[in-house]
Symmetry: D2
Subunit: 287 residues, 4 copies
């Protein structure tokens, strides 16, 4: 994800200072004349507006607070924007450490996949001090069509996690419903049409239907390739679960959705689009 995001910043004329744990990932930026450095700390030494994009909470902590992390050399007044999807509690903790160094931290996770990143159509959900939002928006607007201010630090993560939990629930619900209807004798296209004009309508039924043959141009039309992988959904549901446990919020269906995607990862669906839950439920009884 970081690669197409960086390219969109280049297109808007921003000079870059780049670091990635995999040096090969930086090669094309080096060839294009951008600076490539050898640690997050080195980025912080040279830049005062920094965007981080990392796969897990642990990676984010390392990039900020590690031995060669950003905080080792961050300049006062710098704006640090983390676009990783991580635990909101970790975002808040990082924000405190950044503030102690006299800089500003905002969490700004994205929705939309690699395609949206390339075309600059990501949505950013931004949490942090409101006065700094305009500055963040200037940068994020180069990479995303929607930049939404969500509130205090951590609320960007919260919004992302909430959306994806509801998405997982509605997708599994759509898959169960379509499967039940088909077994009761309904034509899948007709059933989708009825749901979509009724109160069962949801994005998973009307825009991303999980049943092969119902819609074109979605992963279910292409053997569940592309799209948003089951492993990634399981990861986001783990974050939702952690947040719900720590805030003592009951999530009966959210928990169940988490367990279902966890099971699917172990059954060969880890790299398929998350709408493949229809296929997972659909497998026929064997005799």
């Amino acid at each position: 994800m970081g690669n197409p995001m960086a390219k969109n910043l280049m297109k808007h004329g921003y000079p870059l200072v780049i670091y990635d744990v995999f040096p090969d990932a930086c090669k094309e930026f080096h060839d294009a004349g951008e600076q490539v450095v050898s640690s997050p700390a080195d980025v912080a030494e040279k830049a005062d507006r920094i965007i981080t994009m990392l796969p897990t909470s642990t990676n984010a902590i390392e990039a900020y607070s590690g031995a060669n992390g950003i905080l080792k050399k961050v300049k006062k007044g710098s704006l640090l924007i983390d676009s990783s999807t991580i635990d909101p509690a970790v975002s808040k903790e990082l924000a405190k450490e950044v503030e102690r160094m006299g800089a500003v931290f905002m969490d700004a996770p994205v929705s939309g996949g690699v395609g949206a990143a390339r075309s600059g159509n990501l949505t950013f959900m931004v949490g942090g001090v409101e006065e700094e939002f305009a500055a963040a928006q200037e940068l994020l607007g180069c990479m995303g069509a929607n930049v939404v201010y969500c509130g205090a630090v951590g609320t960007g993560q919260a919004a992302k996690i909430c959306n994806n939990m509801l998405l997982a629930i509605t997708m599994i619900g759509t898959a169960e419903t379509m499967n039940l209807g088909i077994r009761l004798g309904l034509d899948p296209k007709l059933l989708a049409k009825i749901l979509n004009m009724s109160s069962g309508r949801c994005w998973s039924s009307d825009t991303y239907n999980p049943v092969p043959g119902v819609m074109d141009g979605v992963p279910s039309a292409n053997n569940y390739q592309g799209g948003f992988g089951t492993t990634l959904m399981a990861k986001d549901l783990g974050l939702a679960q952690d947040s719900a446990t720590s805030t003592k919020s009951p999530i009966l269906l959210g928990s169940q959705a988490h367990q279902i995607y966890r099971m699917m990862c172990a059954k060969g669906y880890s790299k398929k689009d998350f709408s493949s839950v229809f296929q997972y439920l659909r497998e026929e009884e064997t005799f």
Copy 2:
């Protein structure tokens, strides 16, 4: 429900022959000059197009196959339309019995509440022999804005049950998500807005949001009065559960939704709108 439906037929000029187990319910039709008779059999003797509207599968069996049921005096070629929401397996059974008498049976459950019934805006989901659909549509079109042909007998019920199962899942999912987001510090209106422009969007989030203060004109804005009661949702989920069990279809979230609405019925929510699941989840820990 039967009352406003009958009135809409009157408005379209159809003469009525009416029966209800509660004689008082027939009084205003008698005063308006319509025939009121004393059993379903008597209706069948006088009318060759009959619409039934009953609360349970047991009631429907009684009205058709009981000692004074329609089948006792049904005329050959009659068109019998059952608008009850019942087990599709029962609809199929009734259709067989009706066919043996030389008449035609169609299932045509409705969606939309008493308000939609009054204004003639119900949606009918119709199952039965396709050649008879035009005849059914002529009558049902007097009472509903949408009359959808779903396939063989029982598929009207199947479509209704499927929609309501998905509705229950998306509503509980929306309630869990909104509650989690609020506890994580998000403003409810803002969270609803973000979900509705993202992939978590569903009818329960964008048209019937369960959180008080987010939308006007929905039950959550009126202490969950009016709307579609929790008891009725629990009943429809029981039908979904029965259909899933008999067709061996896995419904992990559907089952859970059934159990949640069943619990709510026992906790004082039976007469509240089904969106009150937000309130049920929201209650604070007491110390």
Copy 3:
């Protein structure tokens, strides 16, 4: 199951009149000099104490109320004992029909598998009029070590269904717990020992542990062959689900257990022992 049960009656000196839909199943009884007849009605004509053992509610209805069913020729005062595991509501319905013919009906489902049937160690849970229990016990005692009177007609089924629902829940719970403990670094034998001396103890942990290597002489020690099949457990959970739905009893974990065994049937576990849920949960994430 019927075969070893009938043999135990023979051993106790009872003359038999036998019917099975598969004539081959009767051959060895014919060779041993017992009467084999060609319908349930024929059995009823010749015998006044009849034991039925059938796989589903539908089969039981056919055997009693079908065109050549027992009720066609049942003698007044006959004692009819149904050892099938079926819906208690069906047992009650059959009891009413039998009573109308002047005979007595009792439900007496069994627990224990084919092995227990052979050795005469079945447990019978009996529902019906208390005054007839002694007569039933005389026969059932030839085939089972425990014959328990449970109350009015249908309570034998209720007891069986309740036990098996709790069994399914404790087995899945044991499997989840053992798997979690192993992943947290515990030795499976040690974990089983700790659970069995603590409050987590259950039959599934101390007598029928689902983890290979923990106990000898159980299906988990033999690749989950033998024992009580996943399909049969899914069937019994379907009966529990139906009973819970019709009595409006919340079964949050029971429903979930039903769905899990339903899923397993479709994933190649249908003929394995139900303790194979450990294997189902255990499969590793693939990359």
Copy 4:
């Protein structure tokens, strides 16, 4: 819990150095001539065998690694035993920090409540280096009847969490089953007897039955007072959930049990014994 544990050490002749965040809690030990100090660091300065007992992971981190924590003044070669029930990942982290100071850390959570603590009948599940187990056992044996070695650091917590997760599942399962059986017409005492001689048997059915009137001397016989509170069970299930999420272990019923106890905390059951889930499920539908 700490109070009766400390008294049992006194009874065995050990001199004590005591600290508690609530000074009043130390008064009776001061009056008895024991040393009371003003921080965990002060305990570490004076004692080389230290037992900690704290309510949450956060409290444990503070007591060891805080500004006045044990690690500030711990002596080389000290044995530190933590009897708190906390996240095994936190136990492992603390063990690393303790090891860096040249001391030894073991996790030794207990099962059994305040009564068992008073009578010296607790069970300790101990994780840590095996060579140090004898030294730990000498101390813990003064307070508990069973001291079980579970393996490497963190496995004591793992065993405790696993047992309590299975306990929660079997208790809810027993409550659902007893409730369903009663609604199907079974006498509760008879149903418990049948389950306890069958494969549904578990500690929750045979030793701690949740249905009032079935057993004496358990919380269900005393309006669910005493015993193990719902809040504590919800806390332990939160730890199980966190461990399952981080190890990617599916816990379908464990998650559901967590959510159910979380809901109960918000519905007025927080201080009742966890077997009150029967009462929670049992409440009747209101009309």
